[in-house]
């Protein structure tokens, strides 16, 4: 099993979710995060004090899935999340040693 972590732009979440659903992905976990990268933040001014906000709002998707679905899933995320502009985000892939579904105590690929 693998874990895919994808950092994407917030307004692309719906689109990505739909694409993943169509691929038969049954579960994922979503976190609101702040990203720091090549894409530059904006400047805010409050009564004469200037602030640069380096961190931009991003969405982190975490999806655990069997090895054979990794490629298709990655491709789907990249396809839907791409705008071609800087800041589109990243996909990272990790090895998962074990998975358990709490409700049924199933393990491994069954669990995801």
């Amino acid at each position: 099993m693998k874990l895919i972590i994808a950092i994407i732009k917030p307004f692309k979440l719906e689109e990505a979710k739909e694409a993943l659903s169509q691929l038969g992905i049954q579960g994922m976990t979503v976190t609101e995060v702040k990203g720091f990268g090549r894409q530059k933040g904006h400047t805010e001014i409050y009564r004469g004090s200037e602030y640069t906000v380096d961190f931009l709002p991003k969405i982190k998707l975490e999806i655990v899935l069997p090895d054979d679905r990794v490629e298709a899933t990655t491709a789907a995320i990249v396809r839907t999340a791409k705008t071609g502009k800087i800041g589109d985000g990243k996909v990272f892939i990790f090895h998962v040693e074990e998975a358990v579904r709490i409700r049924t105590e199933e393990r491994g690929a069954q669990a995801v």
Partner: protein, 481 residues
């Protein structure tokens, strides 16, 4: 520390016991019953808000307050309290960081509490009883003799206790304004102790000097005033005292940890804007109410207040737009408040067109103070109490000197003030402003040192400041997810 408080608590608890009995009023000299004409003239006087025709001549059939004026002044009192609770609390609370929002609210509530108690104990008396030109006496301590009958010194048609409540609301908001300069770092007990002392040493005397019927700076009502200053609704008494004290205090307390390095944007501009709206609305009670009647002067003040607020708001926004290409909600809010603070001393004395000019300047000078002065000198006036209230208030006091006109307020045609209008009035204004400025700054420095000595420190520890005052000083969080 706590022991002192327990003691203080007991003192307050029993403070009400040795209450002075109402001073036996001297029996009025026997007076005739009023004629039909006098009775009619009394009623007309009520409608026109002028002294009773029967005053000193006959027994009035309507010796108490006039309901229209009294009702209006109770409304105004509620409006001015609304400016602090929750208006100012939100305006300031929105501007601090999330971790300190409750500390600001606690300060506003605490100030409302202790100032009210001291107003009852002695504050009202020290401010509005007869005394020297510098301070009243204790005749009205514990509100002794302060009942629903009018006090002719201040207004023929409103109850003295309503007047007393109305003035209390001013006494509450003034020290609360100071909170903006030392937000996010001063210890809660130090704030309250400082406020109590500051009221005694600065507010009550200054208010007496400027508004007391025998005050040395009361140009409008005191024939013997040394300096004939005008302050309709508190440019000197409210905005200058608090604003200049705020500057001194924020210098003494020092800058917030990370100031100038870290980002400290307002945690909720939404709250700040809600507070601004409430301030604006409440300010009608503040300015129009300062006529102490629902009369033509109140009507004029209402107009001046509206125009200055709107023009100040627009001008500050325009300044931002012209210098930075976009305009912020904080800018619009700041401009509105600056307009309101600046028109305050002038509101009952100037024509609508003069109010527009005042609003315009209020959008420019405080804007520069907040944007350039603060950056230049690097003091940490956290929420710009100095930039808006001291600069705006002082500006308004001087402009009142230049723009006051009997067209707007018939009282300015009185012999004691008329010759100054359009002439040297502005010099009197300047002198009064200078005296109060010096008093505020010097007084604040002394009191801050005193409080520092008594409580061993004005400021929270670095740890507390980092964690946030809400959790550390109040054991609460502003918001829980």
């Amino acid at each position: 520390m706590r022991k002192i408080l327990v003691l203080g608590c007991l003192l307050v608890a029993f403070g009400w016991l040795p209450v002075r009995l109402h001073a036996a009023v001297p029996p009025p000299a026997k007076m005739p019953q009023p004629t039909l004409d006098q009775r009619l003239a009394d009623i007309e006087a009520y409608i026109n808000n002028v002294p009773r025709a029967t005053d000193g001549r006959a027994v009035s059939r309507i010796a108490g307050p006039g309901p229209a004026h009294n009702g209006w002044m109770m409304t105004c009192s509620a409006l001015v309290l609304f400016m602090t609770l929750p208006g100012l609390a939100l305006f300031y609370g929105g501007l601090v960081r999330r971790k300190n929002v409750l500390s600001v609210l606690a300060q506003c509530l605490g100030i409302a509490g202790v100032v009210t108690i001291f107003w009852w104990l002695c504050g009202y008396s020290l401010t509005f009883s007869h005394g020297s030109g510098l301070l009243g006496n204790l005749d009205f301590a514990f509100f002794s003799g302060v009942d629903a009958a009018p006090n002719a010194d201040y207004s023929p048609w409103i109850s003295q206790n309503v007047f007393c409540m109305y003035q209390l609301m001013f006494a509450i908001i003034t020290p609360a304004l100071i909170v903006g300069a030392i937000a996010e770092r001063m210890r809660y007990p130090a704030v309250l102790l400082f406020v109590v002392l500051w009221m005694l040493v600065i507010y009550f005397p200054v208010a007496h000097m400027v508004w007391g019927v025998d005050g040395v700076l009361n140009g409008l009502e005191n024939d013997h005033a040394r300096i004939r200053a005008l302050d309709f609704a508190g440019g000197i008494v409210v905005h200058m005292t608090s604003g200049w004290s705020a500057l001194a205090l924020c210098l003494l307390v020092g800058r917030r940890l990370g100031h100038g390095r870290e980002q400290m944007p307002p945690h909720s501009m939404v709250l700040c804007m809600v507070g601004t709206g409430m301030l604006w609305v409440g300010w009608y009670g503040f300015n129009a109410g300062s006529a102490l009647a629902a009369d033509t002067i109140a009507a004029n003040a209402f107009v001046a207040t509206t125009l200055a607020a709107a023009v100040g708001c627009s001008t500050w926004g325009l300044m931002e737009y012209c210098t930075r290409g976009r305009l912020s909600v904080l800018g619009l809010c700041s401009g509105a408040v600056a307009g309101l603070a600046t028109i305050t001393p002038a509101s009952g004395f100037v024509t609508p067109n003069a109010a527009v000019l005042i609003g315009l300047l209020a959008g420019v000078l405080p804007f520069l103070a907040c944007n350039l002065l603060k950056a230049r000198f690097g003091y940490d006036d956290a929420l710009d109490t100095f930039g808006v209230h001291a600069v705006g208030g002082t500006l308004g006091v001087i402009l009142t000197g230049l723009l006051a006109s009997p067209k707007a307020n018939a009282n300015l045609a009185a012999a004691r003030i008329q010759p100054l209008i359009g002439h040297t009035l502005w010099l009197h204004q300047l002198a009064a402003a200078a005296i109060v400025l010096v008093l505020s700054v010097v007084g604040t420095v002394l009191l801050a040192h005193l409080v520092h000595a008594i409580l061993r420190g004005l400021r929270v520890s670095e740890e507390v400041e980092t964690l946030g005052l809400d959790l550390a000083e109040h054991g609460e969080e502003g918001y829980i997810e």
